[in-house]
Amino acid sequence: MTRDILYFAWLRERIGLPRERVETDAATVAELVAELKSREPRYAAAFADMAAIRVALDQELAELDAPLGQAREIAFFPPMTGG
């Protein structure tokens, strides 16, 4: 399935791009992360500490073991620091 992957803050900087479109068979967030990490060292480095990473599926916060379902837009980012 074709999915848009978005990166924010230091994840965006480490991976070197704000978004990309991927073709993937991953069924869960965890499977997608494993697939990305296997691509290149910069992905492996960016996703090294999953405790420091949050995910949103179609702009809703989700757990890291959530199924991807029909989500078109999957965003990875560090814990939020607004306010």
């Binding site: 924010f8 702009q59 814990p79 939020m80 607004g82 306010g83």
Partner: protein, 154 residues
């Protein structure tokens, strides 16, 4: 309930004046203003702060946070303003105001809005100092602050 996401600076005093002017009958108005701190813990002085956000999700998160506050407390009005982009020391980053008949509801709802904004709205702060750029780390007690609202009915 109104929510504004903007790059432009704003004036907390003017916002409170406008909010209070529309708060006829409320009795109690609480405001919170978050300011960019220029000096922090013996580091080099801050040159500027840049806030990145997630367009699309940010607006949804702000609307959801405001709706949640409105469902928990009997508010006659609430306002949330959050900036993104670059900003300088002592500029306002965020402004929250709540109006209610009694002070406890106004205080609690404003504290709740700030707790949620801190760790549920997709904003990330980067501090730029001489020779150093650093993403601000989330504070563990921001998560703890959120927990207190989870079981409370408000």
């Amino acid at each position: 309930m109104r929510v504004r996401l903007q790059e432009a600076p704003f004036d907390p005093g003017a916002e409170l004046a406008g909010f209070t002017g529309r708060a006829a009958g409320a009795g109690a108005v609480v405001s919170f203003t978050g300011l960019v701190r220029g000096d922090d813990d013996a580091q080099a002085p801050l040159i500027r702060m840049v806030i990145e956000h997630y367009p699309g999700m940010t607006e949804k998160a702000l609307d959801a946070i405001a709706a949640e506050a409105a469902s928990r407390w009997a508010l006659s009005d609430a306002l949330v303003i959050h900036r993104h982009g670059p900003m300088r020391p002592d500029e306002a980053i965020v402004f929250v105001a709540t109006a209610a008949r009694h002070r406890v509801a106004a205080f609690e709802a404003a504290a709740f809005l700030m707790d949620y904004l801190k760790s549920r709205a997709p904003f990330w702060k980067k501090e730029e100092r001489a020779g150093d750029e650093r993403w601000v780390a989330a504070r563990e007690n921001d998560e703890a602050a959120l927990a207190r609202w989870r079981d409370a009915s408000g």
